[in-house]
Assembly symmetry: C2
Homo-oligomer: 133 residues x 2
């Protein structure tokens, strides 16, 4: 599957790319380049970053800013578009869907004559556990 997906985006299906894409599909969670590299073992960190650039351009992954100093990446599953709730206290990350999101994004773009290609949205605060603690 990864091989075909890569080729359909004009990306040469190298061993490293196939492994990384497969890993990200399975994790479907925001991960740092280092976290991904650790789980791949035979791929250099520089290559992970280079592949991320390619994947980002192809729209296969999204860049996620969780407020920690380093960038996270997440597989962009078109069937499960979502955003994140990030707990300031315990760091837990929950997925969340925003109602009428498409409509909102379209209306924002239309009003400003801006062609929105993508957007980033994260919520920060306290998760249910940490509120009571």
């Amino acid at each position: 599957m990864p091989a075909q997906l890569l080729q359909s985006h004009q990306l040469k299906a190298t061993k490293q790319r196939r492994e990384l894409l497969l890993l990200m599909q399975r994790e479907h969670r925001p991960r740092t380049a280092e976290q991904l590299q650790t789980k791949l073992k035979d791929v250099s960190l520089a290559t992970v970053y280079r592949m991320m650039d390619d994947f980002l351009q192809a729209g296969l992954v999204n860049r996620v800013d969780l407020g920690h100093g380093h960038t996270h990446f997440e597989y962009a599953d078109p069937k499960h578009h979502h955003h994140h709730l990030i707990c300031d206290d315990c760091g837990r990350i929950e997925d969340v869907r925003v109602p009428n999101e498409t409509k909102i994004v379209l209306s924002v773009g239309r009003k400003a004559k801006f062609r929105v290609r993508r957007h980033a949205l994260e919520f920060f605060g306290l998760c249910s556990r940490c509120q009571t603690a």
Copy 2:
């Protein structure tokens, strides 16, 4: 004004803090620590970063991720809450207001039993000029 604002947030109103806060209120645009330091002249970069931490905690400024490698900061004017449209082509940044934003944020938090304290939202794409070019 900055002096009182600082003190109301339990922040000692030092010369550097007053100047930085005043500058950010006037700029009311996302700026990097370096950009701010340049305009201040007599404040070290380390101090700008340290002040940003304080201001962020106090809620006086927001952290903005424009997708470039470095963090931007913007004065958090409660009367002009807005988000950004960032042009992939020319880099121009426009402010935008999202209709019913408060309602949306509240509903997202309620559904997930998550107490949302703040959120980050940026739109990327092509501005009106770059669409036609």
